[in-house]
Amino acid sequence: MSVPILDFVPIWTLILGLGVFFYVLLDGFDLGVGILYGFTANRVSRNLIMNSIAPIWDGNETWLVLGGLGLFAAFPLAFAIIIPAVYFPILGMLLALAFRGVAFEFRYRDAPHRTFWDYAFSIGSALATFSQGIVLGAFIQGFEVSGRNFAGGSLDCFTPFSIWTGISLMFGYGLLGAGWLILKTQGELQEWARRLGRWCFFGVLLAIAVVSALTPVLELDIAFRWFSWPNILFLSPIPILTLLVAIWEWRSLNNRSEVGPFVGALVLFLLCYLGIAISLWPMIVPYKFTLWEAAASPNTHAFLLIGALFLLPIILMYTGWSYWVFRGKVRADIGYH
């Protein structure tokens, strides 16, 4: 290879980490909105809920493509091991996303089968979320590897722990979705979103507690990392902050704050994400290959980095603009105005 040996792994870890986090936040809230959608049968509410995400869901889902391809590009060995290992959750996610994605247009154009497409939308959103949660759980538990290949069976990823993370993520996305709806709606619909948001909040608290308690038990290395001296000193702000943000989130769900619930949910996600990253660092195929072992060639990293550093800020700019165009409350009578 002609390129001098430069270490692009940290910057690619950061880019991929941010890309996946953007995905979790953005598609997280619109999948969450989809899950909550199933809890109201009122057509006016459903129209409003759908309209609040119709112009942006496609862009949100694009971050999933970037996450998948970014993993393929930056850490191809991880891509080649993890994706076959979670064959069925990925299948479930893709099929669910397909149903849910076409439901935006089909529901509107196919009035005789609207009920069917309503179910496609809400159940699709829930199943896609659950599948992603399974992938997360399987990732935390690690993969059986032989050489450069996944060596386990296609059903190995389904464990009580991964099913729990699947359920947890549904509460998490639900909370994000409720936050989004509180931000974008008003009146009774907003009250309804607050009510559901509070239920999701309890689910999220339970989820964080169980996963935080189980992960160190399942993997002793993780326990050592968090509880050994002096790590416990440096890392203790994360659980403490999580607790403080959780209290703030609960208060925002109960007072008049319109921005608070969404921002609080966002910060909670960030903290959980950091917590998982700290637990697994520096593994990208837990507990077999590190980021450096799974990395693409420096030449590949460099070639893609040139474009990514130039394109990502532009993407963020025009994506921000498209959100700004559809800013404000979504209302039934005059649409987006």
């Binding site: 290879m1 049968a41 009122n42 057509r43 006016v44 129209n47 309209n51 119709a54 496609d58 862009g59 694009t62 999933l64 493509v65 970037l66 391809l69 970014g70 393929f72 590009a73 191809p76 060995l77 080649a80 994706i83 076959p84 064959y87 069925f88 299948l91 893709l94 099929l95 996303l97 994605g101 076409v102 935006f104 247009e105 089909f106 509107y108 154009r109 196919d110 009035a111 290949n149 996944f150 060596a151 069976g153 296609s154 009146g187 009774e188 309804w192 693409a296 060639s297 030449n299 590949t300 070639f303 474009g307 990514a308 990502l312 025009y318 498209s322 165009v325 559809f326 039934a332 649409g335």
Partner: protein, 466 residues
């Protein structure tokens, strides 16, 4: 019989890509057409362009949504079913695919929202820019995905270390030998496909005496466009064929069902290729024409399949027939275009019933040709995923059992058979409703839809929210 994960994975890939390719085949051309209509409306202020743009944008919204969800499936296929291929080729191929996402997908997605829903929210010029950006995005997407595909067909600019591919020269990787031909041939094919759909819709209206102004505009514009594109495509196709003849001679031998190496080879118009006996049955040959087409010389040398050991030959019958379907459709298209010149000269373009009937019947031709062409090139490059270097059989994920893949194939089978027919039916319904909008209201059509869903949907008896 045991279930073979390799065969099933290939079937699954063929299934998901065949459905998916129909959507870009339509939306790439349609995005450019909408951008053109928006620009014409912006420049001339004529209402007919506005109505047409809004009409086609409604149809675009459905097909693009289907394209997104079926396209999302594709990168995950590489990882899930072809993990050894992914591991081996990632250093070379992954940046091409990632650039597609970075340059094209985000651009399309962000500006599509504004194109569909934003007409009232942004100035007219910004809406035009959104339409242009969506069109540019679809073309960039074609650029990168075909660069990746072309590299797999005619790999260049790489070295192999320990069974994995490493990049040496990015320009050679992106502009691999078959790429310029493949890109032009495919994009022109997609433009032609869209044109025939627009042409068919126009003819449908003219025959029924509906939306005359819009229909005449569409019919005339697409026939001028096709007048340029169809002959151009035949020329590009010939150049692409010569390129394939140079870099993938075994594929050409399969397309031509040529078993023996010959100088002055005939063109086999029809035959039943028999792979076991390595010969053709019921062959209808035209002497010397094969050499003339492939080498542009009647005595040119054409290599036959026997030059390759059987395990390095592609299947013969599938590329042979698929290629003939593609070329046959190309000639049919050319015939229709030639007739249209004559009709235009005689001022009978808009009211000759039989001509309009032919235009309507031609609506699916582009799609069939695209699928046939795709089948030709993809089956013809077997048994390789990276031509001449990595075999398809060595590319599949080792952890998968036949049962695993059977389940996923059934899943994709069922879901696509629900989504695609419904999508086509809904687009057909929009065509029947026509460019004046749902319920034929003459009021201006906002934001690419007759109205926002919340107003257009009947709200039942006043219920309490929610």
């Amino acid at each position: 019989m045991t279930l073979d994960p390799l065969l099933l994975s290939r079937l699954q890939f063929a299934w998901v890509i065949a459905w998916h390719i129909l959507l870009p085949a339509f939306t790439i051309g349609l995005a450019s057409y909408i951008a053109l209509l928006e620009a014409l409306n912006f420049a001339t202020g004529r209402d007919v362009y506005f109505r047409l743009s809004s009409f086609w944008t409604r149809i675009f919204a459905i097909s693009f949504g289907m394209g997104v969800v079926s396209g999302l499936v594709m990168p995950f296929q590489f990882g899930a079913n072809w993990s050894r291929f992914s591991d081996a080729t990632a250093n070379v191929l992954s940046p091409l695919l990632t650039y597609e996402a970075l340059m094209a997908f985000f651009l399309e997605a962000a500006f599509l929202g504004v194109l569909l829903f934003g007409r009232r929210l942004v100035p007219a010029w910004a809406h035009l820019v959104a339409a242009l950006m969506v069109a540019v995005g679809t073309l960039l997407s074609a650029f990168w995905i075909l660069a990746a595909n072309s590299w797999m067909q005619t790999p260049a600019g790489y070295e192999v270390i320990d069974g994995r591919f490493f990049p040496q020269d990015w320009l050679k990787i992106i502009f691999s030998p078959s790429f310029p031909y493949r890109l032009l041939h495919t994009v022109v094919a997609f433009y032609i496909t869209t044109s025939f759909v627009v042409l068919g819709v126009a003819a449908f209206y003219l025959r029924r005496g509906r939306f005359i102004e819009e229909a005449r505009n569409m019919l005339s514009m697409t026939l001028w466009l096709l007048t340029v594109l169809v002959p151009l495509q035949i020329f590009i196709g010939d150049r692409h064929g010569l390129n394939t003849f140079q870099y993938q001679p075994a594929k050409i031998a399969a397309i031509e069902a040529r078993w023996d190496t010959l100088s002055g080879a005939p063109l086999t118009l029809f035959a039943i290729p028999d792979e076991a006996k390595e010969s053709n049955r019921y062959a209808v040959d035209v002497p010397y024409l094969g050499s003339l087409i492939l080498t542009h010389d009647v005595h040119g040398n054409v290599r036959g399949l026997r030059e390759w050991p059987p395990e390095e030959r592609p299947p013969v019958a599938i590329p042979f027939f698929a290629f003939r379907v593609m070329v046959g459709i190309g000639l049919l298209m050319l015939a229709l275009i030639v007739v249209s010149w004559w009709m235009r000269a005689g001022r009978r373009l808009y009211d000759s019933v039989w001509f309009l009937r032919c235009c309507e019947a031609a609506m699916p031709l582009g799609f069939i040709a695209v699928l046939a062409g795709w089948t030709t090139t993809e089956v013809g490059r077997q048994p390789w995923t990276v031509y001449g270097v990595m075999r398809t059989a060595d590319s599949v994920s080792p952890s998968l059992t036949g049962q695993d893949v059977l389940i996923s194939l059934a899943g994709y089978g069922i879901v696509y058979l629900v989504i695609f027919p419904v999508g086509v039916a809904l687009m057909a319904r929009l065509v029947r409703i026509g460019p004046l909008g749902i319920g034929l209201q003459p009021e201006p059509i906002e934001s690419g839809r007759p109205d926002l869903p919340v107003r257009a949907l009947p709200t039942a008896e006043p219920e309490a929210l929610p």
